[in-house]
Amino acid sequence: MSMQRLHPRSASQAREILIGVVIAALILAALSATPLLPWHLLDPIRAYFYERPLLNNLAKAVLLVSFMAVQCLFLIWMERKFAGWLQARLGPMHVGWKGVLQTFADAIKLLLKEDIIPALADKPMFRLAPYLVFVPAMLTLMVLPFSPNLVGFDYHLGALFALSISTTGALGILAAGWGANNKYSVLGGMRAVAQLLSYEIPMILIVLCVVTLKNTMSLTQIVERQAGLWNIVAHPLLMIPGALIFFSCALAEVYRAPFDLPEAESELVSGFHTEYSGMRFAIFYIAEFANNVFTAGFAAILFFGGWHGPVLPPIAWFTLKTLLLIFLMMWVRWTLPRLRIDQMMSFCWKLLVPASLILFCLTALSVVW
């Protein structure tokens, strides 16, 4: 078609794609071989931790947070690369092979950067805000089952708990917006909170649909009960619109285009974190990506069968699904324009909330019959 004529891809770039595919295949092959590894050698260590619940939990938390930090670094690189390719650019290329180490360099730069607090800022709030955003973002991951064995805290109210914790993140954004004493920040913070609270409602309703269908609030059990068929396949009429609504809400929850109003850079400069620099900014950034991982993982659990899948080990499937959903989010983000605040609100209250209510009623009916 016409596109081929416009800017044909050069041979070297085709080769790069090929290399990428081969690497991905190798990684997948290595992952699928993991069940064959001598895991039983680790049993004494497991037993040691199992006997000491406090230590066990601590170790889990440390593992989870460091895993998230590393994953965020990787995701940030991936997003920049992806956006670059999508926009006919190369993305980061300088640090490391094809810029893989770019985010590490950025992290070091941010660490070494002068830590600026505006003179007229509300200092305690300004300092507190990044942690109020970061801690809930990490806590949500606590109940997320990465595989049958790998779950921080298999809570029987997991779905509700995750939602409630993620709402608390709004406070941090409000604190950031208020504390910086910057008008753009205040506007951004207000927008963020209004958006978060509004989109929470359809999101909770859709989660309730799944909970009603599966008759449990535990995320592990929700996944386990999708063993045969993923939700989206088992109940297509309910779950496809459900997944769409959930996806829109997820985009709004993590402030991504077309719902990135809180940090709309063309209007509000950078929204609630306009005044942040250095490590505080990095914490916001990591929290944002942790939220991304959480919402994508949550969607994978609710609709796409979590860790279920053939051949590959469960953790690989879960990661794969999460990554694909994150890719989808990025793709949408780099394609669509941004909505206006009132349009976004009317979209939520006039379309998503009624639609999710109807969906919930239908789900209840389908369960009763």
């Binding site: 109020l132 029987h156 109210l157 604190a175 609270l197 929470e200 009317s346």
Partner: protein, 195 residues
Amino acid sequence: MNTLPVQIAFYSLAALTLISAAYVVRARSIIHAGFWLLPCFVGVAGLFATLQAHFFFVAQLLIYAGAILVLILFALMLTRDAMSLHVPLKSHLGIWAGLISAGLGISASLVLARQSWSVTTAHPAGPARQAEALGEALIGLYAVPFEVASLLLLSALIGAVVLAKVERAPAPEPPPLADTLPEPEETRKEPVGVE
């Protein structure tokens, strides 16, 4: 059940709740006071958790720490006085407030001390059953009070809408020459939201 950790948890959570409640009262800035509510609510949620009331724990987090607190702060930020850090801390009503809350506190303590509570050492119902039991109670035995409460909330909602729906002040005086153009409200079509 291991009681010592539970007791430690209880006392620290209680201390957290009370201290942050004190800060809510004492904070100079009304916004800071609002933010001090967060540890207060979280502490209460934690107390629910120590009591094995899982649903209340999550609901407290979701509704109070997540939603209500944010709304309170939202409302505070939209009011004029919150902008200044110099909200007067002393109030001539302070004495009355102190007296009333002291009276309430004393009477509540008396009631608590006098009343003979039926203490049970039996383990509460399985956590998974709790939510279910609660739900059944709400739409079964307590259906009528539940509905009445929701009716109350609905009327409050409508009242709020009625109160808040103030006629917007007319747009400021349009600049010269603008009389040739129609009013912006009229020319603009229906807001083209994604509906």
